[in-house]
């Protein structure tokens, strides 16, 4: 019962395997080790603390085990009990720790191995003790453990798939841009998956400048996130064709109209590059709240506007040029920030501008975290739309 209880809690493969060796000692043996054989590679975890699942280290190849690999292979055919003395290959095959191995090699104790088949391969449970475990207890134990391991393998497969897909749908880590400090915050409406329809991106352009974008695709959750992928991809393609942000938005508009027709987005898109002495930001927006500029102690929205992207064939976008000096901060955000609705109503732009003025000398990342805190505390537990923000803080003159 204790076995079943402990095993049902987790879906994680490493934790499940760890739980198996934890439960086996001292119930069935003095030491327990698990070896997972998948294809031509293996991983181990044991009750003495060995953990081949930690870190991102690739599983070693079976060939590296030499003669011991044959013993591991033989263990896959059924339950085997080995009274001592045990050959060195046997001890190496299951990585029995030194002190224990000495005893087993001298003929004191018994090593029992049990194969546990899982969808992707086979686990071999190795148990070392003074005597072989009781057969009925061992059977009951391995049946439960086998089911838990199978479930954990299936979950791991799903989780890997989900992680890979998710990585494409959530903002990538920000790059280092010398002279421009970047910061961002992202809080999707969907708490569990942390996936939503807002996005931001800072990516290098072939001409050495940077493409800076933030946007909000219609809809929520995973469906919206998939559409952000389309918009981000179109923006990247457009940036190869033109360095005029308004042109880029026109291209994205045409692309969205042709591919779907029901997808639209708000986007702020800029090209950031080092000018002769100052940083140059060329910026266009489509249906997006105008970014805020902090300069010389005061905050003002940038005078730029444009129509929604992907809604209509006839659009109007304009590019504005802005020179950034050290101390300037540009804050881009989605409407989830200013339209956050709490007990006392909608947050609005003023508190955001005030916070920017107060926190303009923080790091860009700390600024975004403060702003996210302001929004979340205003919401005070009320449901919210996807929230994203991106701050660019100029820390040094350009050196172009």
């Amino acid at each position: 019962l204790r076995t079943a209880d402990a095993l049902t809690g987790t879906l994680n493969l490493r934790r499940t395997a760890r739980c198996v060796v934890h439960l086996a000692v001292p119930y069935l043996a003095d030491w327990a080790g698990m070896t997972l054989v998948e294809g031509n590679r293996y991983r181990r975890i044991d009750s003495a603390g060995a953990d081949g699942f930690a870190g991102d280290v690739r599983a070693p190849k079976l060939a590296g085990l030499g003669a011991a690999a044959a013993e591991l292979d033989a263990a896959r055919s059924g339950i085997r009990t080995h009274p001592g003395p045990l050959a060195a290959e046997m001890l190496a095959a299951f990585a029995v720790p030194a002190g224990l191995a000495e005893g087993l090699a001298d003929g004191r104790g018994v090593l029992t191995t049990v194969p546990l088949l899982v969808p992707s391969g086979c686990w071999v449970l190795a148990l070392a003790g003074r005597a072989a475990p009781d057969a009925d207890e061992l059977t009951a134990f391995t049946e439960r453990v086998g089911r838990a391991l199978t479930a954990a393998h299936l979950y791991e497969e799903r989780a890997t798939l989900a992680r890979t897909l998710r990585a494409a749908l959530v903002p990538a880590p920000l790059p280092q841009v010398p002279g421009i400090q970047l910061g961002a915050a992202y809080r999707p409406a969907q708490e569990t998956t942390q996936i939503g329809g807002d996005f931001y991106d800072v990516t290098p352009r072939p001409d050495g400048r940077w493409a800076v974008s933030i946007g909000d695709v219609c809809g929520k959750g995973v469906e919206a996130a998939v559409l952000t992928g389309q918009v981000r991809q179109s923006l990247r393609t457009a940036s190869l064709v033109t360095d005029d942000p308004a042109d880029a938005l026109r291209i994205v508009n045409d692309t969205l109209l042709r591919t779907d027709g029901s997808t639209f987005a708000t986007v702020a898109y800029g090209v950031l590059g080092a000018g002769p002495s100052e940083w140059q930001l060329r910026l266009a927006v489509g249906g997006h709240p105008p970014p805020l500029l902090f300069r010389g102690g005061s905050v003002a929205p940038l005078p730029v506007q444009g129509t929604l992207v992907g809604m209509l064939p006839e659009v109007s976008f304009e590019t504005v040029d802005l020179a950034l000096c050290p101390g300037d901060v540009v804050l881009l955000y989605t409407d989830g920030v200013i339209e956050a609705r709490g007990r006392s109503g909608v947050l609005g732009t003023d508190p955001v501008a005030h916070l920017l003025a107060d926190c303009a000398d923080l790091t860009a990342q700390a600024l975004c975290e403060r702003l996210l805190q302001l929004v979340m505390e205003h919401l005070d537990g009320w449901p919210h739309d996807d929230i994203a923000m991106l701050a660019l803080r100029c820390t040094a003159r350009s050196t172009a």
């Binding site: 402990a6 987790t10 879906l11 994680n12 992680r163 998956t193 107060d358 926190c359 700390a366």
Partner: protein, 353 residues
């Protein structure tokens, strides 16, 4: 090797002026000269933040100055952490703040300390929803979840993190001032372990079991918390209204001061709920002592808070429902303030920070 304490004045000077490059320079220089990461995290970052809190509490610093210094501290921790590498030991930890908890620096410090000891760490950041934690736990499969909570008013959320983690069989270590002096509310809420700081956490984790059981439900003592939350808005409005009528100095408040008074009363109700949650009047009286120092440092007469608590108590008694425990806790707060005025303040200014 220069002692970390000897470097502190230079570090503080940098922190005070918000000069992150200088602060990072002092800390990284010491690390490269052989100082230990833990000593620097404690002796520079920890000591600096304690002083920042004291300056704010004494009204010497405004919130913007406090935020700027904290931002510098975060940069220092990131710079130090980036320069320390340790071979992985095979142990995995998940570090997170409770939901609504925005003080992320202590958990950043813990993350750096764990990594330097060979732990593989996933750091989830500030204000993490419990539902998100539940998902990450199964993906990452840590051996321990570390939950940081700086404010006792976030103990409800901290408890949710404990429930979620223990349901997955993963033990929970907690830390932060939110869990009270010597972590007195950690065990009440079902944490498997508590540590006073990063160094203590590393030591405690060496002996912490790798598996735990689901946490039993908390006993439900009465309906006071639910009731209080339902009537909170009414209690705050009514209390501020009565205070304006009854207290001459409050009657002279401008709209900004009235707004802050309203926030203070909300805060008092929040802490009252937290004290009810762990069923410990000391949580409330500690807060009241701290708030008194904050208010007095900002020119509020020493008698105002005590009178305010009486008004809140009167308003609460008049509400439908039973408020026996909160009224008793309020009385304990009042008794402490009235006693404290004769003996002088019993509380250090940074007690709650």
């Amino acid at each position: 090797v220069t002692a970390v304490a000897d470097l502190y004045p230079r570090y503080w000077a940098a922190l005070e002026t918000g000069d992150s490059a200088a602060a990072v320079g002092v800390a990284v220089g010491a690390l490269e000269a052989g100082a230990s990461l833990l000593d620097l995290l404690e002796g520079l970052v920890g000591a600096g933040q304690a002083e920042v809190g004291a300056r704010w509490a004494a009204n010497d610093w405004n919130v913007a100055q406090e935020h700027r210094a904290t931002s510098v501290s975060e940069e220092v921790v990131a710079a130090l952490a980036g320069r320390v590498t340790a071979p992985l030991t095979g142990r995995r930890a998940l570090v997170t703040c409770a939901d609504r908890e925005w003080h992320s620096l202590p958990s950043r410090v813990l993350t750096a300390a764990l990594r330097s000891a060979g732990w593989q760490v996933q750091f989830l950041g500030a204000a993490v929803p419990a539902r998100h934690l539940a998902q990450v736990l199964h993906e990452f499969g840590p051996d321990v979840t570390a939950v940081s909570c700086a404010l006792p008013t976030r103990l409800f959320e901290a408890r949710q993190m404990i429930e979620v983690s223990r349901a997955a069989g993963i033990p929970v270590i907690v830390g932060g001032r939110g869990f009270g002096p010597q972590g007195r509310w950690a065990a009440v809420l079902g944490a498997d372990a508590w540590a006073p700081d990063a160094r203590g956490a590393l030591a405690r984790l060496d002996t912490l079991a790798a598996f735990t059981t689901p946490v039993p439900p908390l006993p439900r003592l009465d309906d006071a918390i639910d009731g209080l939350r339902t009537v909170a808005r009414t209690v705050v409005d009514e209390s501020v209204h009565r205070m304006t009528a009854a207290l001459p100095d409050v009657a002279r408040y401008d709209p900004g001061q009235l707004e802050r008074t309203e926030e203070d009363v909300f805060h008092i109700v929040d802490f009252l709920c937290a004290a009810l949650y762990v069923d410990d009047a000391a949580l409330f009286t500690d807060f009241v002592g701290w708030l008194q120092d904050i208010l007095v440092a900002r020119g509020v007469p020493a008698t105002t808070l005590s009178q305010g608590l009486r008004v809140i108590s009167d308003v609460l008694v008049a509400q439908p429902g039973s408020y026996e425990r909160p009224v008793r806790f309020l009385a304990a707060g009042i008794a402490q303030l009235d006693g404290g005025q004769r003996r002088g303040s019993l509380h250090s200014p940074d007690e709650q920070r």
